[in-house]
């Protein structure tokens, strides 16, 4: 039990340190690094719970993609992304912090007191709990319905991202009733569009007219 507890303690401490530095750090990059530390530590906690697949996914998705995205955005914004300290709304902010800290502590208190009893409420995990095989099997049998439905969520997120992030509107600049045609993709792909935008309004491409 010793090694397991030491491992848990280490990961938990790192997670708390990471979380705190995420919130406290003035420099946004350091905040992101704190987040990374917390994510890695939580992956360690998952590992100790036999959820190896979850740990790997945690690292791939959160550390490998989301934190990198944060870093990317912060770097794009440049050094100006360090906001000047904002003194407004101190009372509301402190109240909010107190509220969250209070509810967090209450939650922790209840978990502390009810955890042993709750353990009995839940079934003991089977021997192969958390492996890829088991998760795959559950996903495609018991959990098939939500698994299939989640594809709807992913699709709407992708389409939404495209709709929000896509380049300039290229729709009906012309008044000859062929406006919508321009919204479809031209033969030269997405990235040439800005340069060709103006040319297209006056001179539709051959494919359009035929």
């Amino acid at each position: 039990m010793l090694l397991g507890q030491a491992f848990f303690g280490l990961c938990a401490a790192l997670a708390i340190i990471g979380a705190l530095s995420t919130v406290i750090a003035k420099n946004p990059i350091r905040g992101a690094m704190g987040l990374l530390l917390m994510i890695v530590a939580i992956a360690g906690l998952f590992l100790a719970l036999h959820a190896e697949f979850l740990a790997a996914i945690q690292l791939i998705v959160y550390a490998g993609a989301i934190v990198v995205l944060f870093l990317f955005v912060i770097m794009l914004l440049g050094p100006a992304s360090q906001s000047p300290s904002d003194q407004r709304g101190q009372i509301v902010r402190s109240l909010g912090a107190a509220l969250f800290a209070g509810s967090g502590l209450t939650g922790a208190y209840y978990v502390w007191h009810t955890a042993p009893a709750m353990k009995k409420l839940l079934d003991a995990p089977p021997n192969d709990f958390g492996t890829i095989d088991t998760i795959g099997r559950v996903l495609f049998s018991d959990g098939l319905v939500p698994f299939e439905l989640s594809s709807g969520l992913l699709m709407v997120a992708i389409v939404g991202a495209v709709a929000v992030a896509r380049g300039k509107h290229r729709t009906d600049d012309s008044h000859n009733g062929r406006g919508e045609i321009l919204s479809s993709r031209g033969p030269d792909g997405e990235d040439a569009k800005d340069a060709k935008d103006d040319a297209r309004t006056t001179k539709p491409t051959g494919e359009v007219t035929t």
């Binding site: 209840y110 009893a117 389409v159 709709a163 929000v164 509107h169 919508e180 919204s183």
Partner: protein
């Protein structure tokens, strides 16, 4: 096989969305997309009606979907309602988007997928699918709000909506996490059963209830969680606003009824002294009063309609509170109200779209001045929908309010009914103000004169809504029967 028949409304909307995306990607014209989307929604509506008429109770094999989703009359009612809302929104988009130079195919796929999410939400009986459906619906709505990319207002509205919406979803999720901790279940029936038989962790359950109510109240934009609504509604393209006002709200109320009546439907949590009704009643009173007071002060009709939709959420909440004593009668009144609200609001936004054209979208009262005399064909339906929203007989809105108030009275909630009634009188003021501007004012000297746009799509949407408003207003009985049957799934 019959299982697929039962699932067909859901499948046709999701599959139709994928199909239309392929069509959009491969074809060079996107003109027909609005028509295609409308057809998909019409098919969804027809199929839900078909399953309803066949009798969903007779379909074998539905337990294969348990515990994730359930296809019952409640689900089918909302499937049909959401398809109707989606159809009206897509018809409006078919006129609005080309007129305002943003005819991009993504809008229709977002519309279809968001509706798919809403139908998922109405069908789900597990916290997991509930959350999936909620997020699908919300993300579609966020993206549609931000659809007008060049507009700062659109970006502002979308950002507020997205950030606050994500918080609300997280809060809801915390609530369900606590419930899982307290009961060991994620499926609503299991949670309900565990709570009924007395959970060992009452404090945790109550905390969960509070968090869930906060999350739900945000999604139906009830005061004090309504801050995002006016900005998001105003910034979004009007068809998206229509969708948010009707479909998102309907989906959220479906979730609210399902969660509250299944999880917290036992005698203790349904009672006035120790349950959720007083909390919801407070929220309802605040929602109605605040929204109506602010709506009267708006200069923008679109913003006024946004506040009016908040106020309507308040009335519907009165009906939800009513379920504590009058049971399925109150839930049926909520469903019926949602139906009348959907057709009236979609029609009102549609008429607002019709009154503007490229570069001159009409948003303020001044924009509408004098339109009644110059373009009666545009003003008349607008007037009809506003009258229905105000709840004046013989329109659909009147019977919606009537059933809600009656079920609240039957439940003995006299004071709540009185407050709601006073509020609907206040509400009539700002609805009628539009009529005053349209019919009794002339535009100020030198001000641009509104010219309605010409679009068969918008006309069709208005026609459908107008027919429904009048039919529901003249013969509310048959559709109330449908609502009663749908609400019957909760028993009692």
């Amino acid at each position: 096989m019959m299982l697929y028949f039962a699932l067909s409304p859901l499948a046709v909307v999701g599959g139709g969305a994928l199909l239309l995306m392929m069509v959009e990607a491969l074809s060079r014209r996107s003109n027909g997309l609005a028509m295609g989307t409308t057809m998909v929604f019409a098919a969804g509506l027809a199929l839900s009606a078909g399953v309803w008429l066949y009798g969903v109770e007779d379909i074998p094999g539905l337990e294969a979907l348990a515990p994730w989703i359930v296809i019952d009359r409640f689900t089918l009612f909302f499937d049909g309602l959401l398809c109707l809302a989606g159809m009206l929104a897509s018809l409006l988009a078919g006129g609005y988007l080309p007129e305002h130079k943003m005819n991009r195919g993504e809008f229709y796929s977002l519309l279809l997928f968001a509706t798919f999410g809403g139908m998922m939400l109405a069908a789900s009986t597990d916290a997991l699918t509930l959350f999936l459906g909620l997020e699908t619906l919300s993300i579609g709505a966020y993206a549609m709000t931000a659809f007008r990319r060049t507009s700062a207002r659109s970006a502002e509205g979308a950002l507020k909506y997205f950030l606050l919406g994500s918080f609300a979803a997280a809060i809801l999720l915390y609530g369900f996490a606590l419930l899982y901790g307290a009961t060991g279940h994620t499926d609503l029936a299991g949670i309900g059963g565990a709570i009924k038989s007395g959970t060992k962790y009452p404090v945790m359950t109550v905390m969960a209830l509070v968090l869930i109510i906060v999350g739900l109240a945000f999604k139906v934009s009830a005061v004090p969680f309504h801050m995002w609504t006016p900005d998001a509604y105003e910034g979004a393209p009007t068809p998206a606003t229509t969708f948010m006002a009707v479909a998102v709200k309907a989906g959220a109320f479906a979730m609210m009824l399902r969660v509250l009546l299944t999880c917290f439907g036992d005698a203790k949590f349904m009672s006035w002294s120790s349950g959720w009704p007083p909390a919801l009643a407070t929220i309802a009173v605040m929602t109605m009063t605040v929204a109506n007071l602010i709506a009267g002060r708006q200069e923008s009709v679109k913003r006024m309609l946004a506040y009016s939709s908040i106020a309507h959420a308040g009335y519907i909440l009165v009906g939800v509170v009513g379920t504590m004593r009058s049971g399925s009668q109150a839930s049926a009144s909520v469903l019926f109200y949602l139906l009348t609200y959907t057709v009236s609001t979609a029609g009102a936004f549609g008429a607002l779209i019709l009154c503007g054209r490229r570069g001159a979208e009409s948003v303020s009262y001044e924009d509408l001045a004098g339109i009644g005399r110059r373009h009666p064909a545009a003003a008349l339906p607008f007037a009809l929908f506003l009258i229905s929203l105000a709840g004046i007989p013989p329109t659909a809105g009147f019977f919606g309010k009537w059933f809600i108030f009656r079920s609240a009275m039957d439940g003995g909630l006299y004071w709540l009914t009185i407050i709601a009634f006073i509020n609907s009188v206040i509400g009539a003021y700002y609805y009628l103000r539009v009529l005053v501007y349209m019919y009794m004012r002339e535009p100020a000297a030198g001000a641009p004169i509104a010219v309605p746009m010409k679009s068969g799509y918008v006309n069709a949407a208005l026609l459908i809504s107008a027919i429904l408003v009048i039919v529901l207003g003249l013969t509310p009985g048959s559709s109330l029967d449908v609502a009663v049957k749908a609400a019957g799934v909760f028993g009692g």
